[in-house]
């Protein structure tokens, strides 16, 4: 019954083949074109001008979608994301474990951003009103700051967490710290953190232009000069009009894909809808109230300090006057060694002897000891012996006498720092 000529038959299959080919090409090329291909033509600008532009930027209002991808090379341990710090959790025991403890406490939840890819929605209206939502699969975690009230709502567990900020904090340092590191995940803050570390140890250049979230942007390229640093380069895309940093990419020296990549995928500089910042706990939600002074100083801050220790600290040792920024608010027993990118945080552990996790005060059990040995390796140096724990960016050294050295420096740098500190102390 075959009447159709083979040619004609074969030609028909060209249609799906073409459609599939065009689709694959479009899927493969369009994002590439959208993100990198469009290098807009912008007037040349020097690094200083660009940094000044960022500093002078007075954009107070924006809303948008932020994509954050973090690959620090942390070992995939169960509970590492949310339970990696000691004691921050209130009622997690009652919820039967699992990845999600039933508490909307911001501190635990924000550490989840330290691994994997997340989509955030941010809205900012001045220093007193911010909203941050972590878009999850069929769930959402929202942090809303409206004046002195900070609300956190977790839709997966239908729980809310309420913190009232102390009055004076609500004015001054409020946006810096109050919402549990809310600002740290926006590109602005991430860029500022790095710019703080700009000094003789760092080369800052302008490296072309890019299109980020539909905006024309200059690219600031920051490279550490210190050989011990594990940071290869930091790239910040700055909006050409407003001076708002739109994208932050941190590439480790070891190469590979970016260790931290935070950037807007959509951004709008118009005033966010006022209703965005109104939050009332929904009916039926379990609400946890927190006393104002308990909002900070918790161990929940530790992961941030760990991962940013290298960039945070401008000055030398914690003791002298130069290191005021860094020393302020640091837990006792913490001291910063070295300068700039090569700085290493030295932490005296209260118990003595290695404990699992860097700086998280948990007691040592034989099992924990075994676990610790499993993902660390032994190192010897001037300081004696210790265990080395490495990630792509942050490395830690735990000596047998219970001192932890953490920094974004190579293993050799860490051993050197530990050796000289041991000699000095």
């Amino acid at each position: 019954m075959a009447r159709t000529r083979p040619m004609k038959k074969a030609l028909r299959y060209a249609v799906p083949a073409t459609v599939a080919g065009a689709a694959v090409a479009a899927v493969g090329l369009v994002p590439a074109l959208a993100s990198s291909g469009g290098s807009p033509d912008l007037p040349r600008i020097t690094a200083e001008e660009l940094v000044a532009k960022i500093a002078a930027s007075d954009t107070q209002q924006l809303s948008g979608t932020v994509r954050i991808t973090t690959d620090l090379g942390l070992p995939a341990l169960p509970g590492m994301g949310s339970g990696g710090h000691g004691g921050g959790r209130g009622n997690s025991a009652g919820e039967g474990g699992g990845e999600k403890a039933g508490d909307a406490d911001p501190r635990g939840r924000l550490t989840e951003l330290a691994s994997g890819s997340h989509t955030l929605r941010v809205a900012v209206d001045g220093p007193d009103r911010q909203r941050l939502s972590i878009v999850e699969k069929a769930a959402e975690y929202s942090l809303i700051r409206n004046g002195g009230d900070v609300w956190a709502y977790d839709s997966a567990t239908n729980t809310a967490h309420h913190t009232v900020l102390p009055r004076e904090d609500g004015r001054g340092a409020g946006p810096e710290e109050a919402p549990g590191g809310l600002e740290k995940v926006t590109p602005q803050k991430a860029a500022q953190e790095v710019l703080k570390a700009v000094d003789a140890t760092t080369s800052v250049t302008v490296d072309g232009t890019a299109k980020v979230a539909g905006q024309d942007a200059h690219q600031l390229l920051i490279e550490p000069k210190q050989p011990d640093s594990t940071v290869g380069s930091v790239r910040i895309a700055v909006d050409a009009d407003s001076g708002v940093p739109l994208k932050f990419t941190l590439t480790p020296k070891g190469g590979g894909k970016a260790a931290v990549d935070v950037g807007f995928t959509e951004v709008d500089f118009a005033e966010p809808d006022a209703g965005t910042f109104d939050f009332k706990p929904p009916k039926g939600a379990k609400v946890t109230e927190e006393k104002p002074d308990g909002a900070r100083n918790g161990s929940g801050e530790t992961p941030h300090k760990d991962s940013e220790g290298g960039k945070d600290s401008k000055g030398g040792r914690g003791g002298d006057g130069k290191g005021r920024d860094a020393a302020e608010g640091l837990p006792s027993g913490l001291e910063v060694l070295g300068e700039g990118w090569g700085s290493v945080a030295r932490i005296e552990l209260p118990g003595g002897g290695p404990v699992p996790g860097a700086g998280a005060g948990q007691e040592t059990a034989p099992e924990a000891r075994k676990l610790l040995d499993g993902f660390t390796e032994e190192v010897k140096g001037d300081f004696g012996t210790g265990r080395f724990f490495g990630t792509r960016l942050v490395n830690a050294l735990i000596t047998d006498d219970g001192t932890v050295y953490v920094g974004a420096v190579t293993r050799e740098g860490l051993v050197k720092a530990a050796g000289s500190a041991g000699g000095a102390g």
Partner: protein, 335 residues
């Protein structure tokens, strides 16, 4: 199978379209009692461009008859009944679980049980979302796979396909009618789950204001609208699989083989989608953004993934739809 062996009845349930008077006596299989168009002689079922000038109304008739054929099947009704039973089971389970005053099953999206299940006791409307989240990974696509896989191959194995093609509709038009009928089934299946869940939810639990994922509370009417939008989004999520099933269905003359292949492909793709090491290919798999329907429950709605999903489904429909067309129009129909 010659014409003489086939029963010469089953003319009653059909719509009268402009026919070819000389060929009114074509045979039908009893189960295929309604189908579009009067038959016309067509050389061995090949499409004949010169003779194919049917009116749009005629196409509508073809589609309507396809719809009737699909929905009159006992199998289709059984599938819908199973789908309608899922929300009932979930609802009763949640009711029994929480009947002693204990809290709703916590966790929700955390991997224990389908998403939103923790909210069901507060608001029966959430049973709609829970039921859709529970049926979307397998129940719904399996039903669609059965219907889509059977659409062409089932006709072929029943021996009715060549007679269907004798009609002046042409193969392209027939394929379009088939595809439209499958899409109608996707929507019907989703709405069955949603309506059944709403009924069960209203019976067993209170209805009221809806708490969105962002913590915003909206009135029930708004929640209902969102539920409807979600049902449509879920139905649209099945378009890619429907096209895939239609293509598979044109490959074989065995209805069972086509159904098994389609469902097998679905399971394979779901497994591939669950392997984290393969995340490079995940964006190309049709179930990749299936759960994006939940984004309709955010405030404001998060469109990125929803639109991604629609684009992906459209892509699958275009690729496998045209592949089905290429296969079906170029193929020899001997049974």
């Amino acid at each position: 199978m010659s014409r003489a062996e086939l029963p010469q009845d089953e003319r009653t349930g059909r719509m009268g379209h402009q026919g070819h008077p000389g060929h009114s006596g074509l045979p039908r299989r009893p189960e295929r009692e309604a189908e579009g168009g009067e038959p016309a002689p067509d050389r061995d079922g090949e499409p004949d461009e010169a003779r194919r000038r049917p009116s749009p109304l005629w196409t509508l008739g073809l589609f309507r008859s396809e719809l009737t054929v699909t929905f009159r099947r006992w199998r289709t009704l059984a599938l819908l009944a199973v789908l309608a039973a899922v929300p009932l089971l979930v609802g009763i389970a949640v009711k029994v679980e929480t009947g002693d005053g204990g809290p709703a099953g916590d966790g929700g999206g955390g991997g224990e049980g389908p998403a939103f299940i923790g909210q069901v006791t507060n608001n029966g409307l959430f049973l709609v979302f829970t039921a859709l989240a529970a049926t979307l990974p397998f129940f719904l696509p399996m039903a669609v796979g059965v219907v889509a896989g059977d659409s062409v191959a089932g006709e072929a194995s029943a021996g009715t396909l060549r007679y269907l093609l004798v009609a002046p509709a042409g193969r392209t038009r027939l394929l379009l009618a088939k595809f439209t009928a499958i899409l109608a089934f996707c929507l019907a299946a989703t709405l069955t789950v949603a309506v059944s869940a709403l009924a069960v939810g209203a019976l067993l639990f209170p209805l009221g204001e809806v708490i969105l994922l962002s913590g915003t509370t909206v009135p029930l009417a708004d929640g209902m609208l969102r539920a409807l939008a979600i049902a449509v989004a879920v139905a649209a999520s099945l378009v890619g699989l429907a096209a895939l099933g239609l293509f598979v269905s044109t490959l074989t003359n065995s209805g069972i083989a086509a159904m098994a292949t389609t469902v097998g492909l679905l399971i394979t793709v779901q497994i591939l989608g669950a392997i984290p090491q393969l995340d490079a290919i995940h964006p190309y798999l049709f179930p990749h953004q299936w759960m994006s329907f939940a984004d309709l429950l955010r405030d404001p709605v998060h469109w990125d993934d929803l639109l991604d999903n629609l684009r992906l489904q459209g892509l699958y429909a275009a690729v496998f739809g045209s592949a089905a067309w290429a296969r079906f129009t170029g193929r020899d129909i001997t049974v």
